[in-house]
Symmetry: C2
Subunit: 165 residues, 2 copies
DNA sequence: CACCAACGTTGGCGCGGCCAACGTTTTTAG
DNA sequence: CTAAAAACGTTGGCCGCGCCAACGTTGGTG
């Protein structure tokens, strides 16, 4: 065997997971900066946007839609309610639930936030022409969809390490 | 004017920044799970990998290469030194510095981690065929490179909101 | 010599993402 | 109808990551 200087396994540097994380870090910095101009954070926007999109709902339902934990939802609703961007009222049909409703002020604020965020997206995607932006969105969507509901629960039935394939 | 039911601005739902963040969340969960099997976290791996790649260096230098803050670097080195995966020795040529060196045990551990992580990447990218994986990596790389050094500092001279373009 | 820069270290902060537990209310089974 | 199970809101807590400010020490530069 001729031996030779075979650069043996040549480990995979710059992992895709790290790349993704770096991109997310950048995106979040830009978005946080934008939302910060309105004194809000990502959770606040997520809640307002979901309310605007799907209408009033219980905290638990909103948590399911946004991916925000029930306990964090309490605080988020508190924040927005204090600022009168959202209203929390008991559900007469089910006394366990609160119905969260976006207020007029909340709607107006959301319009402003949407503008801020649209600009933020543009800043984030600045280096990519439209075609590539679509490509990226498509790829990420497929990734996220695939791992979809596995939104948590790394325990029950998970490979975690798959040898061969 | 014929009016018509124009769905007026039709705000951009599912922001690219959010998509990216979701993907990163998924990736991090998978990676954390993998590293957790070795009782380590992402910072630990980043440090070990960088040491293996670029050789011994001061904590500050390592922090610059990995993006880990100096203060967090202290803790990370502490952790790894405790486990004898890394050695911290004073630099004789500059008594401000510590020289961090990866140990033999650290090297062996790193090999294991690399295997774990390779599998993790595969899990993460599972839904994408090889071409798409390359595409994704290319796009993310361009994004990250562009925002490159702006690795922090959202203050000094930043648009944050660009109207037109 | 005085000054400033770099270094390691300590201590702290905020956000996002989690989990466990409790009391209340509703639904479902027996 | 009643007992068990489930859903809900809430409290309190935990961890990791990403940050920043400050200090004492050491090294370079004017």
């Amino acid at each position: 065997m001729h031996t030779g200087d075979s650069p043996p396994p040549e480990r995979l540097r710059v992992l895709p997971s790290r790349l993704t994380n770096q991109a997310a870090l950048t995106a979040n910095r830009i978005v946080d900066h934008a939302l910060g101009q309105a004194g809000l954070r990502r959770y606040h926007y997520a809640l307002l946007a979901t309310l605007d999109e799907s209408g009033p709902a219980s905290q638990a339902a909103l948590g399911r839609r946004t991916g925000i934990d029930r306990s964090d939802m309490v605080a988020t609703v508190n924040d927005l309610a204090e600022r009168h961007l959202v209203r929390r009222s008991p559900d007469p049909d089910d006394r366990r639930r609160n119905i969260i409703t976006i207020t007029a002020a909340g709607g107006e604020q959301l319009v402003r936030l949407d503008a801020l965020l649209a600009a933020a997206q543009d800043t984030f995607l600045a280096p990519l022409p439209d075609d590539d932006r679509r490509q990226l969105i498509d790829l990420l969507t497929r990734l996220v969809d695939h791992h979809g509901d596995r939104t948590a629960r790394p325990s029950e039935g998970w490979p975690g390490l798959r040898p061969g394939t």
